[in-house]
């Protein structure tokens, strides 16, 4: 009996994922209303529960994809993978006012460059504090503080050690998890309630998953604006990492 059921769930992974995520969202909205009187938004709670489950999924399987490594729940990988995620992000642009995007063009571009440069400086600074002194390692860890894609791309291009590349990926993952969970708590403080601030936020944070999750948990209407700028961040980081940022950091430490 059990085997029949698990075969069924495994074979229809995506459908299983729909049902499973539906239950997580339902529990989250229930807890949000009962325990926090709606103060902690249901979607914020759902994302946090998702991350906690990903942690235990990773511990249980030793894999890299959280819950999606559990055979019964591989559909989570498809449902939350980049294809459907990006399709859903694009769909949120439906009904967006283009005038808003044009108005925030200049601060959006500034935020992109500021976001990439600040992340590199902060990441490299921390690495320096912990005793790394060669420009390649400093740049790679700084790149990881940009996003977990910029880190390994930069590290590979510069020929960093695999230990440093792994560190840069971990730094990027921490950033993405923190942006997902922290945004709803600081949103009021940083004035994240309008299209322009959302575009600046997207450009500064840059991590697509972090921005997607953080804005979903804050106000889903801000998603298209934040996603619009964030989508340029990783490309810009990969462009600047092994070139401008590396030369600048090398000039400073050597």
């Amino acid at each position: 009996m059990y085997e029949l059921l698990s075969d069924l769930l495994e074979k229809n992974g995506l459908v299983t994922a729909f049902a499973f995520v539906g239950v997580i969202v339902w529990i989250s909205y229930f807890l949000s209303a009962k325990l926090t009187k709606g103060r902690l938004h249901g979607s914020a709670l759902a994302i946090i529960i998702g991350l906690i489950l990903a942690y235990f999924g990773g511990l249980a399987t030793g894999g890299k994809k959280g819950l999606a490594d559990i055979p019964l729940l591989t559909g989570i990988g498809l449902m939350g993978g980049s294809m459907l995620r990006d399709l859903a992000i694009v769909s949120t642009a439906f009904g967006v006012d283009f005038a808003e995007i044009k108005k925030a063009g200049a601060p959006g571009v500034v935020s992109l460059f500021a976001g990439v440069i600040v992340s590199f400086i902060v990441g490299a600074g921390v690495a320096l504090m912990f005793g790394y002194s060669d420009a390649i390692s400093l740049t790679t860890i700084g790149a990881g503080a940009a996003t977990y894609i910029v880190g390994p791309v930069t590290g590979t291009a510069l020929g960093a050690t695999s230990e440093v590349i792994a560190l840069s990926v971990a730094a990027g993952l921490i950033k993405s998890v923190l942006v997902m969970t922290g945004t709803p708590f600081v949103a009021r403080l940083i004035g994240l309630n309008n299209a322009r601030a959302a575009m600046v936020y997207g450009g500064l944070m840059g991590t697509t998953s972090g921005v997607a999750g953080g804005l979903a948990a804050t106000d889903p209407r801000l998603v298209p604006y934040g996603a619009m700028t964030a989508t340029f961040y990783t490309g810009l980081g990969c462009l600047m990492g092994p070139s401008v940022m590396y030369f600048a950091i090398r000039a400073l430490v050597e």
Binding site: H41, K65, L87, S111, G172, V177, I190, V200, M205
Partner: protein
């Protein structure tokens, strides 16, 4: 028909991603540069144009609105497949580098938002997550 909306969305997605890939290749970067952003702009222009001509009917709009409404569940699934174990086992360098980058970036949001005229807060909508 619903499929028209889904097809328009899919076509915008593919064209935007292709532009992002080409731009990445031209810049010599191993990443898609702005694909999602180009796709969004394309969707905004196309749906605005079709709306004015009244050629995009309600059912077709539902094809796009459905994916928009699935956004949060999809993000929850995305959260559930993050490599959280690797994130927390990266040690103090990774944790501190990632955390400080987020804190400093958060702090810069109000500063950079001040460039140009002030942004208007979105109007309060009751149960905005249902309105999406």
């Amino acid at each position: 028909m619903v499929i028209y909306g889904v097809a328009i969305l899919a076509a915008c997605f593919l064209v935007g991603m292709f532009v992002g890939d080409v731009l990445g290749a031209l810049l010599g970067v191993k990443a898609n540069v702005g694909g999602v952003g180009f796709a969004m702009l394309l969707l905004i222009f196309i749906t605005n144009y079709l709306r004015k001509d009244l050629r995009l009917n309600l059912a077709s709009e539902h094809g796009i609105a459905f994916w928009s409404a699935m956004y949060i569940p999809i993000v929850v699934a995305m959260a559930a497949q993050q490599n959280v174990v690797a994130a927390v086992s990266g040690g103090p360098v990774a944790v501190l580098a990632g955390t400080l980058a987020v804190v400093v970036s958060f702090a810069l949001v109000p500063l950079i938002s001040r460039i140009g005229p002030k942004g208007e807060p979105l109007p309060d909508v009751l149960g905005s997550e249902d309105a999406q």
